[in-house]
Subunit: 507 residues, 2 copies
């Protein structure tokens, strides 16, 4: 038995996603059309037993021209099985299912993949070693934030979070799959990922489809807002046992998650938050990441986030460096060491809590973000202001109280309007005093906690004419000097901190 | 022939030093008294020839009880030879001279070393591995500044510099022996260290006593102000050839300098500024430092200051780490690596010049100084504000225009009033977020660019009662909480940057 659902996932069309989230598998007629990088979904009826999660295997081979893509299906409870697929090429696609359950085996179907709609640039991929781009070639510059457990807070707060994200200026969200147990995070989640007995003990052999439907809805809603969902698969902050499952359960969970979520084009896989603070051997992380690489037919981005010990990001199953480190002037070292894009997801957060990773001034965080970006990497945001009801953005979402996010949005605008990737200028001393980057023919210097009254303009050796923008990274102003500069030149600067200079070709 | 001069070098008695500087060898009667760590000087008449500097050797053995100290004498021009000696023990001292010039050989004399006068604590020595103390046991916490070429600016400016130093709060000065040729430093010095021919070409075989008498006067004047003179023996910023002398001339210069200056109890030897930017092989620096160690009878402090390459300060002839590095939170790494006191003499300077080592905001420099000090090291000051006549403090002295020096004086006062050495608390992550140190039973945390609204007080496990001081490192205020704290406790903090907390035993 088969039900097919074409998920047209379009930016700004929230109603679609809400409908998707409710997910009653709507029967549709043949000749369906799915946009490129959208989701084709088919539903089938199959065995409805306690052990269906563990016993029933389901997959499908999707074919178009000379391409064959094998994807896993998943059991969604109450006898419903689904297969989700993201077509990455326009044209006709057909598929046939394979299953050890007779009802689910040998089902076939077809659909037409049509051009992507306006806001759909496809999934993000690594480009030019140290940077990212959408599949359609549009550059993607990550300006992310973190709300670890925002999907576990209930609809009211979760919808407020989405409303905040609509205008906050972020295009990536770090978020955990599992709920979180930690300071300021003692509330019980609405949904648990596994079925639970009367005493609340999880049955690791049975997933809770309600949990995942809710989770997928939120991932899709982020997608509508143009926000990549950097999904954290494991984390140590736990009181329910999810951080200490046996290996077999971990792998089952990963396979189920990949089967359900890999088709969402905004999904990234982050194996863990602070992986080294968990009670798992180092090589197990390698195996998890390899397993994901093997089972995700789309090759979504894969990373792992450190606590005290930095992972060897040069390992081949890692697509980009996800790092926790307060010193963003080390960005170019990490680029050189790992040869991959550097995303410093946690250079500590703006806030005022006692924990020393969560009480930066807004100025200090903005400073770190600029340093990392102009050094050719990307730096994430987080906010941890004390709140009477413990609603801290970093973990629960809600509204933003700080000042740094506005400056990050300003920097994102500056970077996106030039549209080119930043390569740091080489270091000639043991240390780096200013962040300075070259981006195509545009050049950047960020002075940070410095106040030069004047500066030599470097890098004009090509003797072409340049426009000079004097940027105030805190006041969020750009003043373009009226003169056009060539060759060696000296310019006056405002002599205050947060100054940056950008050069643009004048012709 | 012999003339003896007893130099009583007493703090605040400027007239004495001026008289010393004029240095006409005054004949005195026997039974002289010299205070402990003061200077006994004797003058002798000897050969007055072109080659006297090179040919005449002079030394003396000073004896007291079972001690024998051999010191070099030096030729001071016009037939005058001098021997300077700093007695480090009270009682009767006698001496006999040795020379290859008959006139100077076999002269003898005696004096009585009496207790040190009030402000005289003796020379500074390393104590407790990572710290310093005066010879009388008084702790010495270096809060230094840099005016590289201040002694080459002429009396008017040099006296203004001394006037500034009288109240600025510094107790160490980094200064070059040779004049300096560099940006903002193109003026010709008044004195050159060598005799020069009509064309201005230096004769490296003949010193210029006038130069050294002037230099010594300034060193003595710093001593009167309680300021250690960290003498930089070589530096690369030169147009006269002093940076590129042959080895033999370098060694002759070092021996002459040590003979003239080692007796001044406030002298420290810094082999070079940015040694690795000079055209000298690495092993030559080792040999210079060993040579100084061998010829300086008092074992004055010896260091060497890096440019791009950090010297191996674990070498035995190095007494303390002199480092140039902007990241003062690495202080504890250098302590561990070298096992010696860390003096970060150049974490870059407050100012607004284009050079990236010279345009920190005052806030940024103050921040770096606090971080380094609370991490168990010491951090130097420098100031480089553009000036219409290129009188920048960092090189020429004059007056201070900035804001950081006042905060350094404030921190010095705080550290001196506790009187105990700071040991950094161990690092538990890859990085250090706050500087935090333990000093005897007093404990410090410096929050820098952080704004916690509250903090847990750590380190009260001894369950003794503590007073808590809330310090504003920028506003220079100390607020002592009225409560007395024991065991685990949480305190409210002002939630603004530049906050520090100090705990003091309440009983």
């Amino acid at each position: 038995m088969r039900y097919r659902t074409t998920v047209k996932w379009m930016a700004g069309l929230a109603a679609v996603a809400v409908w998707l989230a409710c997910m009653p598998a709507a029967a549709q007629t043949a000749g369906e059309r799915v946009e490129r990088w959208g989701i084709y979904e088919t539903s089938l009826r199959g065995p409805d037993a306690e052990n269906s999660f563990a016993e029933v295997q389901l997959s499908a081979e999707f074919r178009s021209k000379d391409r064959v893509v094998k994807v896993d299906g998943f059991y969604d409870g109450e006898g419903a099985y689904r297969i989700r697929f993201m077509p990455d090429a326009e044209g006709e696609w057909t598929y046939v299912t394979r299953s050890n359950a007779k009802q689910l085996d040998g089902e076939s179907g077809r659909f037409t993949c049509v051009p992507a709609s306006g806001g759909n640039h496809g999934p993000v991929r690594v480009r030019n070693t140290f940077h990212f781009a959408y599949a359609d070639g549009t550059p993607y510059f990550p300006f992310g934030t973190t709300c670890y457990a925002w999907v576990h807070q209930g609809d009211e707060l979760e919808e407020r979070t989405l409303e905040t994200l609509r205008t906050a200026g972020f295009n990536k969200m770090r978020m955990t799959v599992f709920p979180k147990d930690y300071t300021y995070n003692r509330n019980e989640p609405l949904y648990h990922p596994f079925a639970r007995d009367a005493a609340g003990k999880p049955d690791l052999g049975r997933f809770n489809p309600e949990f995942f439907r809710h989770f997928e809805k939120r991932v899709a809603q982020l997608g509508e807002l143009g926000i990549e969902a950097d999904l954290i698969l494991f984390h140590p902050y736990d009181r329910w046992g999810y951080a200490r499952m046996d290996e077999a359960s971990d792998f089952r969970y990963l396979r189920y998650l990949v089967a359900r979520l890999a088709a969402y084009r905004n999904v990234w896989w982050s194996a863990a938050n602070e992986y080294d603070l968990m009670q798992k051997p180092e090589d197990l992380w390698d195996r998890y990441l390899k397993f994901i690489e093997e089972h995700d037919p789309y090759g979504r981005l894969r990373s792992i986030h450190n606590g005290r010990r930095i992972y060897d990001h040069s390992k081949p199953w890692i697509t980009h460096v996800s790092i926790q480190h307060p010193d963003t002037l080390q960005t170019m070292d990490w680029r050189e060491r790992f040869g991959k894009p550097v995303v410093n997801d946690e250079c500590q957060y703006e806030g005022n809590i006692p924990n020393d990773w969560g009480n930066l001034t807004a100025q200090e965080l903005v400073h770190r973000v600029w340093n990392g970006v102009i050094e050719g990497g990307y730096v994430g945001h987080g906010e941890t202001y004390l709140h009477p009801k413990d609603v801290l953005w970093w973990s629960k979402g809600g509204v933003l109280h700080g000042e740094s996010y506005k400056r990050m949005a300003f920097l994102r605008k500056l970077v996106e309007e030039t549209g080119e990737e930043i390569t740091p200028t080489p270091r000639t001393w043991l240390w780096r005093s200013n962040a300075s980057g070259v981006q195509g023919e545009r050049r950047w210097t960020y002075y940070g906690g410095r106040q030069p009254a004047k500066a030599k303009i470097a890098g004009l050796a090509d003797n072409k004419p340049y426009r000079v923008d004097i940027i105030d990274a805190w006041e969020m102003t750009v003043k373009t000097l009226s003169d056009v500069f060539r060759g060696e030149a000296e310019i006056a600067l405002p002599g205050k901190p947060f100054t940056a200079v950008r050069l643009r070709p004048a012709d």
